[in-house]
Amino acid sequence: MTTRSRLVVVVLALLLLTSCWDSDQGGANVPVPWCDNWGLLMLEAQSVPSARLIPCVEALPLGWSAAPAWVDHEGTSFVLNSSIAGTEAVTVDLLELCDVEDAVRVPSDISGTERYEQVEDIVSGFSGRRTYVFDGGCTALRFDFGVEAAAALVNEVSLAVGFVPREAINEAVRTATDGREQLDP
């Protein structure tokens, strides 16, 4: 085999391998948005410039995993997978506006937010939506569990998803630049 033929084979193999990389349009795939990943938190904050709270992955209970996020000028989205509830068991969306028309307002566990709940299906597993509305934005958690024991799993989600105040992200930029820069205009 000539050098050029080998090169073609290697390139083809790389193409096949790299084509397995789930690269979405415009490079919108970013890593898992952990609550201590300040670079990614800044980007999330920029996706909804008015949002006062930015959702992130606080910690993952046993049996849960998080997938890379999608961040663009319209908002942020990431999913949590569960070994019990299934893949894409929870989808977390940070948006400027959320539809809570058919939801029921309940006391919120997050300070500074209004919480709305909407149950869609409890027969074949559990599907529903929890929305946190706050100044300048909202975060919607869509549950899609293929199993019962929803209550316990929803509690675990509460442990997994956290919120970072926008002001903290702004402060991080100011600290890094000795006050010369800030996140928001």
Binding site: L16, S23, G27, N29, T177
Partner: protein, 557 residues
Amino acid sequence: MTATTNARSGGHRAHHRKRRRPVGEPPPLPREFSRTAWILLGAFASLTALWLTGIHLYEEMGIWFNEREGAFLRALAENRTGWLTDAMEVVHTVGYTWAVPVIGWATLILLVVAKRFRHLLVYFGSLIAISALVSPISWDVARPRPWGLEQLAPWAGFSHPSLPDAQLTAVLVGVAYSLVPNKAYRKVFGLIIATVVLLFGFSRFYLAVEYPTDLLYGATIGATITAAAFLLICPETVFPVGFQRGRTAHLDLGGARGVAIKSALADQLGFVIVAVEAVGLADSAGSTPMRLTPADPAAVPLFGKLYASSHLRSDRWYKLGRTLLYGRLEDESRFQNVRRLVEREDYLLRLMQDAGIRSAAPMGIATITPEREYLIVTEFLDNAMEVTDADVDEAIIDNALELVRMLWDHGLAHRDVKPSNVMIKGGQAYLIDVAFGQVRPSPWREAVDLANMMLTLALRSSSKLVYDRATLLFTEEEIGEAFAASRGITLPSQLRKELKADARDLADEFRALAPPTPRLSIQRWSLRRIVLALWVVLLACLGVFFGIGNLQGIGLL
């Protein structure tokens, strides 16, 4: 120089003293070493390594760039005007949403139409490679959008390196290397690329979507990867970009190659040639045939066939296709390299000469580029014409059929008997283009040679006349066997076309004249054929699956 009479060619040729190329001296046409491509890739890899290492080791470096570039973007933002903002939004929309899919798809379609599949693969592959490279780098650098500014245009993901800039640069550079025909035009097109990319980039600065270094790095990735891929995998000298009609196998005989041919012929074979011109391109797919005019006006011209790696590849694809459709015919193993292909043709020419079978006398082989391009030289059958252009009478029919008889008697097969390979000169038939010839062929192969010759002769006469003359040299059973084996793939495509254009069904007429003979199957089944077919189907499915799966990722959807 001395003039000598060559008994074979029947003419004079001017002799140049042959010269052995000393060790270390470059060949007539040195192999194109894509130095540019390797330099590009090396420089790119080094700069990327330095840049990423710097960012990780010195966090302040990233912040320093953010602040300096941010100041530039703020200055732009503070001086925005209504009309310029509107204009930049339009520029951004065109570049971000439309340019890559429109240019990308148009290019892919044009490459399919032009049958430049290698360029198509490289073009598509470059886009995938760029998309796959930008993602992990952007995750690693994790640069947010410009601080302290409102983004006025759509964006996605981290900003460094800029994927939209990388993709736009890549599709345009890909057009330059796959569709722009010559270097002069390419330079002009390069200026256009730079202008378009800078304009799009400026719109992104103006609308505060990215920093200047995001554009710089993104465009560098797009240009480098695409250019290097084309330079390495589709070098211009082997895969020229052109729009003249003709088969892609034919190489350009002008420029450096033309000079190399003349120098090689003088040094290696002693022929002083003043002109090299392409001939008979329409009917040649496996080589680049040419007429070589000697310096001595009294000398007879020579005929040359240039074989290169591209011909080898065409041969391999052709044999793969035939294996899949009909099974591997006997002794259809592919040539390992160009040298073996040329050696074989030269050997067969000499065998034919030794057997007294009229064909073009071989004059030798010249190296143009070692292991890549060789020129086989034979006598030029001056004033000869294709059999279908001649007045095909009994004498010519006898003469041509006698060639087949001699092939059989000497255990040879031509395997490509068709009108353009049967030449008539001075009332005598010659067989040319013996590259596909075979020693000790199967009886089936011998039968096919006979059938093809009879069909060729009948095109300009009649099946009855040809049959009657054939029975003087072959038994009726042998003729029946010939037509029982002859159909479809056994006919060279030129012969097939001519038979189709002829109002008569000559093959059926011959079958009616010959004794009834059971049809001989040309389908050959083997485990190899089945496995090969499964592999091809699997690879095609994988290719389509991953290709479609990546269309969005590379910006074509």
